[in-house]
C-alpha cells in the first residue's frame, strides 16, 4: 500500500502535511525541539508579534477550566524589530514553513509590520490576529466588526507579498459575515478559531482568578464551537480554512477536516501532550488507510457532502 499523501497546498504554500501549531502555544519553534520538532510539521506559527516589545499581563495568566484553560498572557513578545534580528535568522534555517502571527491595536500597527514582512525575509505567511481577546484595550473590535476586519486585511495585503491568513475571533454573532469580510479584503486563508472570551473566579480569594480578569478559553471545551464555525465558513467562502480549537487526539483533527478544514493547528494540545502533532499525524494516516483515502486532502469537507 502506498504511503498516504499528506502534501497540503494552502494559500499558495505547499505544506509537507496538514499539521500546524497554534500561535502562542509552540513558542518560537525551539521549545518543542525534543518532542515535536518543527521539521516534522507542515508549518509552525510563532507567538503573536506587536510593533513594540510587550511585557504582557501580570500574573496569574493561566488557569484550568473543565476540559479547557483560560489564558491572559497579554501578547508578551519581543516586538517586531527584536523578532527580525534575534529570532528570524534561526527560523529561516528551518525546513518548515514559518508563519508569523501579528497583532495590533490600530490599522497602522498592522501596516507597519506588514511592510517589514516580505517573501524575501524567509517567512512563509502572515497570520493576522484580529481577535486576541486578552488585551484590555482595542484588539477586540477588529475581530468583531466585519468592516474593520476587511480594512485591516486589505491594508496588510497592500503592504506585503506574503500570503495573508486572517485569524478570526469566535466571539461574534455571525462568523460567516466575518469570514466573507476578510475574504473580500483579500485574505488568502482563514484561521478558525481564536479563544472564546471567558473568566473564572477564585471563590477563596473572592476575586477573578486572572490578574487580567478576562482570559481566552481554549482546549477541548471549545471544540464543538470551533467545528461548527469551520463547518459554516466552509460553506460560505472559497479560501482554505485552518481549523483549530481543542484538538488533542487525531480523531479531533479528522473531525475538523471532515467539517471543511484544509489544515489543522494544534494549540493547547501541545501542553497536554508535547508530541500531540506527531501522534495526530500518525492517526490521520491510519484513518486514511482504513477508509481507503490516498491523500489527507480527500478528508477535507467530506462530511459536508
Amino acid at each position: 500500500m502506498p504511503p498516504v499523501d499528506f502534501r497540503t497546498p494552502l494559500a499558495g504554500l505547499n505544506l509537507r502535511n496538514p499539521l500546524i501549531t497554534c500561535s502562542g502555544t509552540y513558542g518560537f519553534g525551539e521549545e518543542y525541539q525534543e518532542y515535536c520538532p518543527p521539521e516534522a510539521l507542515g508549518a509552525i506559527t510563532v507567538k503573536g508579534i506587536t510593533p513594540e516589545p510587550r511585557l504582557g499581563n501580570p500574573l496569574p495568566r493561566i488557569t484550568e477550566t473543565p476540559g479547557g484553560m483560560l489564558n491572559a498572557v497579554g501578547l508578551e513578545n519581543p516586538g517586531l524589530e527584536e523578532f527580525l534580528c534575534s529570532y528570524l535568522p534561526r527560523l529561516q534555517k528551518l525546513p518548515t514553513a514559518v508563519i508569523i502571527n501579528i497583532s495590533g491595536f490600530a490599522v497602522e500597527d498592522y501596516v507597519q509590520m506588514a511592510r517589514a514582512l516580505q517573501s524575501d525575509c524567509g517567512l512563509a505567511a502572515i497570520e493576522v490576529n484580529i481577535s486576541c481577546p486578552n488585551v484590555k484595550h482595542g484588539g477586540m473590535h477588529f475581530g468583531t466588526d466585519p468592516q474593520s476586519a476587511r480594512e485591516v486585511i486589505a491594508a496588510v495585503k497592500r503592504e506585503t507579498d506574503l500570503p495573508v491568513i486572517a485569524k478570526l475571533s469566535p466571539n461574534v454573532t455571525d462568523i460567516v459575515a466575518m469570514a466573507r469580510a476578510v475574504e473580500s479584503g483579500g485574505a488568502d486563508a482563514v484561521s478558525l478559531i481564536n479563544t472564546l472570551l471567558g473568566m473564572s473566579i477564585d471563590i477563596d480569594k473572592r476575586r477573578p482568578f486572572l490578574a487580567n480578569i478576562f482570559g481566552g478559553l481554549s482546549g477541548p471545551a471549545i471544540r464543538p464551537v470551533a467545528v461548527r464555525m469551520v463547518w459554516q465558513v466552509a460553506q460560505a467562502v472559497q479560501i482554505p480554512i485552518i481549523g483549530m480549537g481543542g484538538i488533542i487526539e487525531w480523531q479531533d483533527a479528522v473531525e475538523f477536516m471532515l467539517a471543511g478544514a484544509s489544515a489543522v493547528s494544534i494549540g493547547t494540545g501541545n501542553f497536554v501532550n508535547p508530541r500531540a502533532p506527531l501522534t495526530i499525524l500518525a492517526g490521520i494516516e491510519q484513518y486514511c488507510r482504513k477508509n481507503g483515502l490516498a491523500s489527507s486532502r480527500d478528508l477535507v469537507g467530506l462530511a459536508q457532502r
Binding site: T63, G68, N273
Partner: protein, 279 residues
C-alpha cells in the same frame, strides 16, 4: 524526556489528615535529574484535569533508577494523583527547568518554609555527597506539619537541622527568618567576611512562600552571601512556550524583563527577582 514511568509507591506521609504524599517513580529520569528540577505529571487518563501538574524532584537515586516526589493534596489534580497505585504508569515530562547551583566547597544553608522543604531535600543530599557543610533551617506552622512533610527523610540525611514553628510545638517559636538571622550574625563573627573570602564560602538556597523567600533574600544580601530561591507559578506547557509562568526579573541597572519559571527557573538568584511585581 516524555515517558511513562511506573509507580513504585504512592503512600501517605505522616498523618493522613494533612494530605501529604510520597511518590516514588521508576525510570530513566533518575539518570538525568538534578536538584531543583521538576517533572510535569499527567495525573489522570481523561481530559479532566486537562493540564499536567508540576512537582519538584525531592530525591534522586540513579542506581535504583528512582525519583521521589513529595506532594500535598491541594485540589482535584493531586487528589487524582494520590489514587495512582504501585505498578500503574504515569506519564512524565522532565526533568524540567534549571536546578540549584551546587557550590564545590564551603557551606550551603537551606532555608525552607513549610512544604518548600520538598525540592531542597534533593539539593541537601547532593551537597552532602559533595562534602559540603549543609544546614537546614526549616519553619512551619507546627510540629505535625513538619513531620508530615518529610522530617524523617531529612533526619536520615544526618545533617544539622534547625526548626521553627509558629506555635512553638517544636524548635524555636517564631519564623524561620528569625532563626536564620541569629545564625547569620553568629557566622559573621566566627568566620571571614564575604569580602575577605574571595569566592563566597557560604551559599543559601531557599524555598517557601514568596514573602519568606523575599525576606531571606534581603537577609543574605545584607550579610553578603549569595542566595538562590525556587519559585512557583501556574504552568501549562512547562517548556517555555506558553508564557503562562513568567516571573519579573531586574538587572543591576534596574532594567526589568520577564523570565520563565519553567525554563529559566524555577531557581533564580534572589537579588534578580522583582517580588510582587506590579506589572
Amino acid at each position: 524526556m516524555l515517558i511513562d514511568q511506573e509507580v513504585v509507591l504512592n503512600e501517605i506521609l505522616g498523618s493522613a489528615d494533612l494530605g501529604m504524599r510520597k511518590l516514588v517513580l521508576k525510570g530513566p529520569i533518575a539518570q538525568e535529574a538534578r536538584p531543583g528540577q521538576f517533572v510535569h505529571l499527567q495525573v489522570g487518563p481523561t481530559l479532566d484535569p486537562l493540564l499536567r501538574r508540576p512537582i519538584s524532584i525531592a530525591a534522586i537515586d540513579p542506581e535504583c533508577q528512582e525519583i521521589t516526589l513529595l506532594y500535598r493534596i491541594k485540589g482535584k489534580g493531586t487528589e487524582l494523583l494520590s489514587k495512582a497505585g504501585p505498578g500503574q504508569k504515569l506519564n512524565l515530562l522532565g526533568p524540567l527547568g534549571k536546578g540549584f547551583t551546587l557550590p564545590d566547597k564551603g557551606e550551603l544553608w537551606l532555608v525552607a518554609g513549610g512544604i518548600g522543604a520538598f525540592p531542597l531535600h534533593a539539593l541537601a543530599a547532593a551537597a552532602k555527597k559533595q562534602g559540603l557543610t549543609v544546614r537546614l533551617f526549616w519553619g512551619g506552622e507546627n510540629r505535625s506539619l513538619l513531620e508530615c512533610s518529610g522530617l524523617a527523610m531529612w533526619e536520615e540525611l544526618g545533617l544539622p537541622i534547625y526548626l521553627s514553628t509558629l506555635d512553638g510545638s517544636c524548635g524555636k517559636k517564631g519564623l524561620v527568618t528569625e532563626l536564620l538571622q541569629e545564625f547569620l550574625q553568629e557566622y559573621r563573627q566566627s568566620s571571614p567576611s564575604p569580602a575577605a573570602a574571595g569566592e563566597p564560602v557560604l551559599q543559601v538556597a531557599a524555598c517557601g512562600p514568596p514573602g519568606m523567600m523575599q525576606a531571606v533574600t534581603v537577609q543574605c544580601l545584607q550579610a553578603g552571601w549569595p542566595v538562590e530561591v525556587s519559585l512557583e507559578e501556574h504552568m501549562a506547557c512547562g517548556l517555555g512556550a506558553c508564557l503562562g509562568c513568567v516571573v519579573t526579573l531586574q538587572d543591576q541597572q534596574g532594567q526589568v524583563r520577564r523570565a520563565k519559571v519553567c525554563q529559566d527557573g524555577p531557581v533564580f538568584r534572589g537579588e534578580e527577582v522583582v517580588w510582587n511585581a506590579s506589572c
